[in-house]
C-alpha cells in the first residue's frame, strides 16, 4: 500500500482531463458532481495514506516511477514524509472545501467547466511540487503551478486588468524561476543528482560558498513564488482572478511553495549563515512593507493580498531564524484562516453583486451574520488572539527569533536578532490593526448606505466558511508549547537539522504576553479609529495631525511608491535598453553572423557538391588521393611529434 499516496497526485489531473474532454457535454451539475467527488476521494485517500504513514512512526516512503539515467541521476520520483504529508493533507483538504464554495460562486459563469479544469490542474501541479522526491519533479510542479495560476488570474480575460495581472504574475515569476533554474543547474553540477535525500546528505561535504550560492539562487525562486520583496507586486494584482481561486492559490497553497521549498532544503540551508541572514532580513522587510501597505487599501481583496504577503514574510522570518517547524506551522494555520478570510470576502462580494470597494460596504453584520461571525474568527486568528490558531504559530515565530538572539555567539548578531524580534512584533501589531480595520469597515462602520437588499450568502458558501472557522479556532492545538505534534511529524524530515527551539519557562510566558498584547493593541486601535470614531469625538485642538496622517495614508495606498519606482526604473528603462539591444546586438551582430554562416555553408555546399560528378574515374582519383593523403598523415605525424 506504499504507493497509495501517488493516487491523490494524479486524480486531479485525470479529473481535469476528463472535464476538459467533456466540457461541451456536461452541464454545471454534472461538472460539480465529478469535481467534488474526485476532490473528496483524493482527500480521503490522502488522509488514509497519512494515517498509515503516521502509524508507521512517520518513516518516509519514497517511490521511483521512472529513472531516465543513473549518472547523472535523473529520476521521476515521489516521497511521503512528514513535510509532504502535511502539505498533501492541506492541499487536498482545502481543495475540496474551496471547490465546494466555488460551485456556488462560479454558478452561471460562462466558463464554469473551464474553471474547474484549471482548478484541478492547479491541484495536480501543486501536489507534484510538494510530493516530489527530487528537485526536477519539484521544478515541473513549480512551473506548472505558475502556469495554472496564470490561467486562473486571467480567467476573466475579457477584462483588460485581469489579462494584464496574469501577464505581470507570469513575468515576475519568471525572474524567480530563472534563479531557481540556475540553482538546479549548480546542484546537478555539484552533486550529480537531483534527489533531495542524497543532496542533503552530501551537502556537508561541500564548501559553504557553494551552499550559499545554491541557496541564494533557490531563494530567488522562493522570493518570486512566495511574493517577497522585491518580487511581491504581482500578488495584489493577482486578485483579479476568481476569489475562491485566490483563496487556494494566492493565500493557502501556491504562494507558500517558496516556504515549503526552503524547509525542504533546510538541511543544506542551515550550513549557510549568509543565506539565513538574507532570508530573515528580506522576510522582515516584506512583512513590514506589506503590513504598512495594507493599512490604507479600500479593495476588500487587496487588503487580504497584502496581508498574505506580510504573513509570508513572517514565515520567511521563521526560516531565517532556523525555526523551520514554526514556519510550517504558520503555513498551516495561515492556510486555514486566510482561506477563511478570502472565502468570506468572496461571500461578501457575491452578496454585494461584485462590489469590492469597502467604502461602499459597512454595517453588513446584521445582513450577513454567519459570514461576519466567521470572518471575525479569521480576523481574531490572524491577529494572534489566543486560543485561536494564529496565536500559537505567530507566537512561536516571535519566540524563536527571540531565542535565536539568545543563541547568537557575537554581540552584534545578538543585538541584530533582538532588533528583528522587536520589528516582527511591530509587524504583528500592524497586522492586528489592518485586519481589525478590514472587518470593521465591512461589517461595522455605518456609511449611511442602504444595504437592505443584501442577503446572507447561500449555504454552499456558508458551510465551507463554518468548517474553516472551526479549523481556524482549533488547528493551532497541533503544535503548542505543551504538545509538540507537528514537530514530531516533521522529525524525520528535519533530521540532522538544528531547529531553533522556544525559550523555556518565564521568558516564554513574557513573550506570549507581549505578542498577545501586540494583537490586542492593534485591534483596539483599529476599533478606536474605525469603530468608536475616536478622531471625531475628541478635539485634538492645536495638534495638527492632518498632514502626517495623510502622508502615511498616501504612502500606504501607493505601497511606498515601490511599484511606480519599479515601473520607471525597470520597465521603461529595460524597454529602451532592450530596444537598442534588439536593433544593434540582435539585428546586426547575431542575425548577421548567423545569416553569414548559413549562406557561407550553403555556398560551400554547392561548391563541394560539384565534385560529386557521377563519373567513376573521378571517384577512383579521389579514392587514391585521399588514401595517399591519409597514409602520409599516418607516417609523418610521429616524426613531427617527436
Amino acid at each position: 500500500m506504499d504507493f497509495l499516496f501517488i493516487l491523490p497526485i494524479f486524480l486531479p489531473l485525470l479529473t481535469a482531463i476528463f472535464l476538459f474532454l467533456n466540457r461541451k457535454i456536461f452541464n454545471e451539475l454534472v461538472t460539480n458532481f465529478f469535481t467534488l467527488n474526485s476532490a473528496l476521494l483524493s482527500f480521503a485517500i490522502s488522509f488514509f495514506a497519512f494515517v498509515t504513514f503516521a502509524l508507521d512512526k512517520f518513516k518516509p516512503i519514497s517511490i521511483t516511477l521512472y529513472q531516465w539515467t543513473r549518472t547523472p541521476d535523473i529520476t521521476i520520483g515521489f516521497t511521503l514524509d512528514g513535510l509532504s504529508g502535511v502539505m498533501l493533507l492541506l492541499v487536498t483538504g482545502l481543495s475540496f472545501v474551496i471547490q465546494l464554495f466555488s460551485t456556488s460562486y462560479m454558478e452561471k459563469d460562462e466558463k464554469h467547466s473551464n474553471y474547474f479544469v484549471y482548478f484541478n490542474f492547479f491541484v495536480f501541479s501543486m501536489l507534484l511540487l510538494v510530493m516530489s522526491s527530487n528537485f526536477l519533479v519539484m521544478f515541473f510542479g513549480w512551473e506548472l503551478v505558475g502556469l495554472s495560476s496564470y490561467l486562473l488570474i486571467s480567467f476573466w480575460s475579457q477584462k483588460p486588468a485581469a489579462a494584464k495581472a496574469g501577464n505581470k504574475a507570469f513575468v515576475i515569476n519568471r525572474i524567480g524561476d530563472f534563479g531557481f533554474l540556475i540553482g538546479l543547474m549548480i546542484i546537478l553540477n555539484t552533486f550529480n543528482t537531483f534527489d533531495f535525500h542524497t543532496v542533503m546528505q552530501s551537502s556537508t561535504n561541500v564548501s559553504e560558498n557553494t551552499i550559499t550560492t545554491i541557496s541564494l539562487f533557490l531563494l530567488l525562486g522562493a522570493f518570486g513564488k512566495s511574493a517577497q520583496f522585491p518580487l511581491f507586486s504581482w500578488l495584489p494584482d493577482a486578485m483579479e482572478g476568481p476569489t475562491p481561486a485566490s483563496a487556494l492559490i494566492h493565500a493557502a497553497t501556491m504562494v507558500t511553495a517558496g516556504v515549503f521549498m526552503l524547509v525542504r532544503i533546510s538541511p543544506m540551508l542551515q550550513h549557510s549563515a549568509t543565506a539565513s541572514i538574507v532570508i530573515i532580513s528580506f522576510g522582515l522587510l516584506t512583512a513590514l512593507i506589506a503590513a504598512f501597505s495594507a493599512m490604507n487599501q479600500y479593495d476588500i481583496k487587496k487588503v487580504l493580498a497584502y496581508s498574505t504577503i506580510s504573513q509570508l514574510g513572517f514565515m520567511f522570518i521563521a526560516i531565517g531564524a532556523g525555526a523551520y517547524v514554526a514556519a510550517i506551522f504558520h503555513l498551516v494555520t495561515h492556510a486555514f484562516f486566510k482561506a477563511l478570510l478570502f472565502l468570506g470576502a468572496g461571500a461578501v462580494i457575491h452578496s454585494m453583486h461584485h462590489e469590492q470597494d469597502m467604502r461602499k460596504m459597512g454595517g453588513l453584520r446584521k445582513r450577513m451574520p454567519i459570514t461576519a461571525g466567521m470572518m471575525g474568527i479569521g480576523t481574531l486568528a490572524i491577529s494572534g488572539i489566543p486560543p485561536l490558531a494564529g496565536f500559537w504559530s505567530k507566537d512561536e515565530i516571535l519566540a524563536s527569533v527571540f531565542a535565536k538572539a539568545g543563541m547568537a555567539n557575537e554581540l552584534v548578531f545578538s543585538i541584530m536578532y533582538y532588533l528583528f524580534w522587536a520589528l516582527t512584533l511591530g509587524a504583528a501589531l500592524l497586522t492586528a490593526f489592518y485586519m481589525g480595520r478590514h472587518w470593521l469597515l465591512i461589517f461595522e462602520k455605518d456609511n449611511g448606505i442602504d444595504h437592505s437588499e443584501v442577503q446572507e450568502a447561500p449555504k454552499a458558501m456558508t458551510r465551507p466558511l463554518i468548517l474553516l472557522g472551526i479549523f481556524s479556532i482549533f488547528i493551532g492545538f497541533i503544535n503548542t508549547p505543551f504538545f509538540h505534534g507537528l514537530e514530531k511529524v516533521l522529525h524525520e524530515t528535519l533530521e540532522n537539522v538544528e531547529v531553533t527551539h522556544l525559550p523555556e519557562g518565564i521568558a516564554l510566558v513574557i513573550l506570549a504576553v507581549l505578542s498577545i498584547g501586540a494583537g490586542f493593541t492593534g485591534l483596539i486601535i483599529a476599533f478606536l479609529i474605525f469603530g468608536f470614531q475616536l478622531h471625531k469625538r475628541i478635539n485634538l485642538g492645536k495638534f495638527k495631525l492632518e498632514s502626517p496622517i495623510n502622508l502615511v495614508k498616501d504612502l500606504s495606498s501607493n505601497v511606498l511608491y515601490l511599484n511606480k519606482f519599479g515601473n520607471v526604473f525597470f520597465v521603461s528603462g529595460m524597454k529602451n535598453f532592450s530596444r537598442k539591444v534588439a536593433v544593434v546586438v540582435d539585428g546586426l551582430i547575431i542575425d548577421g553572423s548567423v545569416n553569414f554562416i548559413s549562406s557561407a555553408f550553403g555556398k560551400t555546399s554547392k561548391i563541394t557538391s560539384a565534385t560529386q560528378t557521377g563519373l567513376v574515374r573521378n571517384y577512383v582519383v579521389y579514392f587514391g588521393l585521399f588514401l595517399i593523403l591519409l597514409i602520409s598523415l599516418f607516417i609523418f605525424t610521429p616524426l613531427v611529434a617527436q
Binding site: 560551400t604 557538391s609 567513376v616 577512383v620 579514392f623
Partner: protein, 490 residues
C-alpha cells in the same frame, strides 16, 4: 550435438547460420529450375530459411555459453561476443527488411528467385565475415556478401540508373577489395600472420614501439577497405549514386547489412588486434571522422533527392560510429548501440520510401513527399519519428546514442572532436527537418496518389518506430547488452 560434430570432424553449429542461409538459397535454386513453383512457395521457403537462421543463431549462443570465446576450423572461424552480436544484427536486418525485399523481388519478372538467392547469399557472406578470425576469411566473407550486393543493385535492368549504380558499385567495390587484400598481404609479409588474435599477440611480443611500418600500413589498408563498405568519408563517393540508383526496396537491406557487418569487424579489430597500438591511429581516425561529418553535412545540405540525402546522412553516422570505435572500450559499446539504433531508423525510412514511390523506383525527390500528411497520417508521423531519430532529437534513440558517444569522447578529452560532432548535428537538423516540413507542414495543392499499406508493413513500421522511441526512453537494456559485449576487452 558434440557427437555429430565429432563424426563430421568439424563443429557445424558455429557456422550454422551461414549454412542455413546457403541451404535455403540452394533449395530455392534447385526447386525453381526444376519445377515451376508458385510465388507463395518461394516466399515461405525464404521466410522459413530466415527463421531457421534465427534458430541457428540461438544455437550459437548455447555454444558460446558452454565454450566461451573459442576458435574453430584451425583458427579460421571465431566465436566471440562480436560475432554473436554481428549475427544477431544481420539476422534482424534480414527479418526487418524481408517485407520490402520480398515485395521488390516479386515485382521483378522472371528474376524473383535470383533476387532472393542473391540476398540470402549476401547475408551468408556477411555472417561469415563477422565470424572470421583469419583476415583471408574476412576477405572471402566480404566478397561473397559484396558481389551479391553489386548484382542486387542492378537487378532492375530496365532502369538505366540501376545499371549505372550496379556498375559503379562493382568498380569501386573491387578497388576497395584490392586495397583490403593488399593490406592483408602487407601484414602477412611483415609479421607472417593473418589472424585477429595473432596480430595482437605478435604486436605485444615485439613491443608496440617496434612494429614495422609495413604492417602498420597494412593494417591501415585493411581498415580503409572496411571504411569503404561503411561509406565513411573520404571513401563515400559511391554511396549516394548507388543508393539513388538501386531499387528502393533493396536499399534498406543493402545499406544496413554492409554497415552492420563492417562495423562489427572494425570494432573487433580495434578491441582485439590493435588494442596495444590504437593510439598510433588516433590522428588517422580523427581525420576520417572529421571528414565524414563535415563532407556528409556539406553534401547533404544541397540534396533534393531523399535517397541521396540519406546516403550522405549515412556518411555522417559512420563518422559518429567511428568516433566510438576508435576511442576506448566503452566507446565501442556506445558505437554498437548507435549502430543498432541507426539501422532500425534506416530500415524504417527506406521501408516508407518504398511504400510511397514503389519498390522498384530509383529517384525519390523530396517534393514527392508534399501532401503526404493529408493522404496518410500514419506514414508521416512514423517518417518524422525516424528522421528525428537520425537527427538525434531527445526522446528518440538517436539522442541517447549520440549522448553516450559524446560523453565517452568527452572523458577522453577529445574536445575538438566533440565540437565538430555537435556542430554537424546542428547542421543536420536543417536537412533532416526539411523533408518533414515538406511532408507535414508545407501547404500544397498537389495530392499524392492513393497509398495502400499492407498490414504487415504497418506492423513493421510501427514496431520500428516504437523501438526508436522505446530505446530513447528506456535505453538501459540495449546499453547493458553492448556493455556485456565489451566487458572482456577492458
Amino acid at each position: 550435438m558434440t557427437g555429430i560434430s565429432d563424426i563430421l570432424g568439424f563443429n557445424f553449429v558455429v557456422i550454422g547460420p551461414t549454412l542455413t542461409l546457403l541451404a535455403t538459397a540452394l533449395i530455392l535454386l534447385f526447386v525453381t529450375i526444376t519445377i515451376s513453383t508458385p510465388t507463395f512457395v518461394k516466399k515461405y521457403v525464404t521466410l522459413f530459411g530466415i527463421l531457421s537462421t534465427v534458430f541457428a543463431v540461438f544455437l550459437k549462443f548455447g555454444l558460446f555459453l558452454s565454450d566461451g570465446v573459442s576458435s574453430y576450423f584451425s583458427e579460421k572461424i571465431l566465436l566471440d561476443e562480436f560475432a554473436l552480436v554481428g549475427n544477431v544484427l544481420i539476422v534482424l536486418v534480414l527479418l526487418f527488411t524481408f517485407n520490402s525485399f520480398w515485395k521488390t523481388s516479386s515485382q521483378i519478372d522472371n528474376k524473383t528467385t535470383e533476387a532472393l538467392i542473391l540476398i540470402l547469399m549476401s547475408a551468408s557472406g556477411f555472417l561469415l565475415m563477422v565470424d572470421s578470425e583469419n583476415f583471408i576469411m574476412l576477405f572471402i566473407g566480404l566478397e561473397i556478401g559484396s558481389i551479391s550486393l553489386y548484382a542486387l543493385a542492378g537487378l532492375n535492368r530496365g532502369d538505366q540508373l540501376s545499371n549505372e549504380a550496379s556498375l559503379k558499385y562493382f568498380l569501386l567495390g573491387s578497388l576497395a577489395s584490392c586495397i583490403l587484400i593488399y593490406g592483408i598481404a602487407l601484414v602477412y609479409v611483415s609479421l607472417s600472420i593473418s589472424g585477429v588474435y595473432e596480430t595482437s599477440i605478435a604486436i605485444s611480443f615485439i613491443g608496440p614501439e617496434n612494429v614495422p611500418l609495413t604492417s602498420l600500413i597494412g593494417l591501415i589498408l585493411i581498415i580503409v577497405g572496411l571504411l569503404f563498405k561503411v561509406a565513411a568519408a573520404p571513401f563515400q563517393a559511391w554511396a549516394p549514386d548507388v543508393y539513388q540508383g538501386s531499387p528502393t526496396g533493396y536499399v534498406g537491406y543493402m545499406a544496413s547489412v554492409a554497415k552492420a557487418s563492417s562495423f562489427i569487424v572494425l570494432a573487433r579489430l580495434s578491441a582485439v588486434s590493435l588494442n596495444f597500438i590504437i593510439d598510433k591511429f588516433d590522428l588517422f581516425f580523427t581525420a576520417v571522422i572529421i571528414l565524414s561529418v563535415l563532407l556528409g553535412a556539406l553534401f547533404a545540405t544541397n540534396q533534393s533527392d531523399l535517397k541521396r540525402l540519406i546516403a550522405y546522412s549515412g556518411v555522417i553516422q559512420s563518422g559518429f560510429i567511428l568516433s566510438g570505435i576508435s576511442f576506448g572500450v566503452y566507446g565501442i559499446s556506445a558505437s554498437i548501440f548507435y549502430l543498432a539504433t541507426y539501422i532500425i531508423q534506416l530500415i524504417g525510412v527506406f521501408t516508407i520510401f518504398s511504400i510511397i514511390s514503389g519498390q522498384l523506383s530509383s529517384n525519390f525527390a523530396i517534393s514527392n513527399l508534399s501532401g503526404l500528411f493529408k493522404e496518410n497520417k500514419f506514414l508521416t508521423i512514423t517518417f518524422s519519428i525516424f528522421m528525428l531519430g537520425i537527427a538525434g532529437l531527445p526522446l528518440t534513440s538517436g539522442f541517447v546514442s549520440k549522448f553516450i558517444l559524446i560523453t565517452n569522447l568527452w572523458s577522453y578529452e577529445k574536445y575538438i572532436l566533440v565540437t565538430v560532432l555537435m556542430l554537424s548535428t546542428v547542421a543536420g537538423f536543417y536537412f533532416y527537418l526539411k523533408p518533414i516540413w515538406v511532408a507535414a507542414v508545407e501547404k500544397t495543392d498537389n495530392t499524392i496518389e492513393q497509398i495502400k499499406i499492407q498490414n504487415s508493413d504497418k506492423l513493421l513500421i510501427s514496431t520500428l518506430a516504437f523501438l526508436t522511441i522505446y530505446l530513447g526512453l528506456l535505453p538501459n537494456t540495449l546499453v547493458n547488452i553492448t556493455r556485456w559485449m565489451v566487458e572482456n576487452y577492458l
